[in-house]
């Protein structure tokens, strides 16, 4: 279980400061696939980086009751659109590197995914296309052998077919103990992939629902998000009216 308790993060800026996280509480059970949604600046990336300990924060992040330290950090892996790999190295060199650091590295999965996505194994990653880089980033996060796989907009720059393939492959290969926390804007694409949706707004969790609950309420994920965010469907219509009305006069 990954427990996040009263997590707060404050960024100092020359003009004062920004409260990126305002007391986030979240419990993530092993084996869950969670979508983390929110507008730009809602705090998704900050939350993921705080969980990983990349940023100093107030509050607590516990992994099976223990603070995240060097001794247990290998139970978390991370895929991000900012990329984590070493650009000068080839995938094979990465595999060796990961195997030396993470005893749980999934070699068979690595082979299968590299072959499935037809990624060249002996080409330096800096020479990959953006889409290939993203694929490799996610492959390494999946192959590290971590129990909790954190993903931050991992498919920015990949085409729709590619993303679809990834979701399907992910669902097919994940072991029951593997947990995914996926931050993305692509709501409609992942609603069949995630089992639970967490909505962030201005550093606070404003919605947390399972897909089963939504199904029972006969709602789609998009309906739920619009409802929670207070989205007004007539907003565009009224704006257009105002704009075009001005011209008529």
């Amino acid at each position: 279980m990954l427990e996040i308790k009263s997590l707060k993060k404050y960024y100092r800026t020359p003009l004062g400061g920004v409260e990126a996280l305002r007391g986030v509480d979240l419990k993530i059970g092993q084996g869950e696939i969670i979508g983390l949604f929110g507008e730009n600046g809602a705090g998704k990336t900050t939350l993921l980086k705080s969980i990983l300990g990349f940023l100093p924060y107030e509050g607590e992040v516990l992994l099976d009751g223990e603070k995240i330290r060097r001794s247990n950090i290998s139970r978390l892996s991370f895929a991000t659109c900012e990329h984590s790999f070493f650009p000068n190295l080839t995938p094979e060199a990465h595999r060796e590197f990961y195997k030396m650091h993470f005893g749980t590295f999934r070699d068979k999965r690595y082979e299968a995914l590299m072959n499935f996505f037809e990624l060249p194994k002996r080409k330096a990653l800096k020479n990959y296309s953006t889409g290939q880089k993203n694929q490799f980033e996610v492959i390494m996060a999946l192959c590290q052998g971590a129990d909790y796989i954190l993903m931050d907009e991992p498919f920015v720059g990949n085409d729709i077919f590619n993303r679809e393939d990834f979701y399907k492959v992910l669902l097919g290969i994940l072991e029951p103990e593997e947990t995914i926390l996926l931050s993305t804007h692509l709501l409609e694409e992942v609603d069949k992939f995630v089992g639970r949706a967490v909505l962030l707004r201005q550093g606070r969790v404003i919605g947390d629902v399972t897909m089963v609950e939504l199904e029972e309420q006969n709602k789609t994920l998009m309906d739920y998000v619009k409802e929670v965010y207070g989205y007004r469907p007539d907003r565009v219509e009224r704006a257009l009216e105002e704009l075009t009305g001005g011209e008529d006069e």
Partner: protein
């Protein structure tokens, strides 16, 4: 006991992988710089020897400006090391920060790697100097026929003496401290302008070549190096604490 051995083995494997990462990321740059330095010095030496800029070996080596070439190469070598390591931290920090090896451990691996590279650069320069002495002997046997010409060259030519100080213990100590401090400071550089590294480099460039027995500048140099090393260890200790 088994746990300790296992942990030690894991850390050793982690350190070896960081070492391999550093080598893979910097080897081509370092080799290219070493080749340019060696070729440049050889060319300058031949120009100086055949262009009649002195009859004695001392004059030829001094006029070929190999000390300037070496110090410039040292600067570029340091910038390649520090730049590569900064790039790894900057572009792959998300991976580096998730390793089981501590930041302190990573720093020491980087420092030892840098120190090893600097020792190789010094060794290469000494080898080039020995080759120059040999080449001069072959070119002008009448001018420098002494069987002790190699030994004498490392005493008479200030730059060569500072590079390989023979019996002058003070300069050996200074050189060891310089290499340690430069290696550690390059390893400590993560972002921004590497002010301390630049300072240390300028101290090296300014004070490296000096007269035999130049005790004061050597002592000052050692003092600066010690201050840099202590500040690095202190920062590291504070960060991990």
């Amino acid at each position: 006991m088994t746990m300790t051995a296992g942990k030690w083995q894991r850390n050793a494997r982690g350190a070896a992988s960081i070492w391999a990462l550093l080598a893979r990321s910097s080897i081509y740059k370092l080799l290219a710089l070493a080749a340019v330095m060696a070729l440049g010095e050889a060319a300058l030496f031949y120009i100086s020897m055949r262009g009649g800029r002195g009859y004695e070996l001392t004059d030829v080596i001094n006029s070929s400006k190999i000390s300037t070439t070496f110090l410039a190469a040292l600067g570029l070598w340091l910038s390649a090391l520090a730049g590569t390591e900064r790039n790894i931290e900057e572009k792959s920090g998300n991976t580096i920060n998730r390793l089981t090896l501590s930041r302190r451990g990573i720093f020491w691996v980087k420092a030892v790697f840098n120190i090893g590279c600097l020792v190789i650069l010094f060794a290469l320069q000494i080898w080039i100097a020995i080759w120059m002495v040999g080449a001069f002997g072959r070119e002008r046997p009448e001018a420098y026929a002494s069987p002790q010409r190699l030994f004498l060259a490392f005493y008479r030519i200030e730059f060569l003496h500072c590079l390989l100080p023979l019996a002058e213990a003070g300069k050996w100590v200074r050189n060891v401290f310089l290499v340690l401090a430069l290696g550690m400071e390059a390893a400590a550089y993560v972002k921004g302008v590497p002010l301390t590294l630049l300072l240390l480099y300028f101290v090296t460039a300014g004070w490296f070549v000096g007269p035999v027995g130049g005790g004061l500048t050597d002592a000052l140099c050692i003092l600066v190096c010690v201050a840099v090393m202590v500040s690095n260890v202190w920062r590291l200790w504070k960060k991990d604490a």
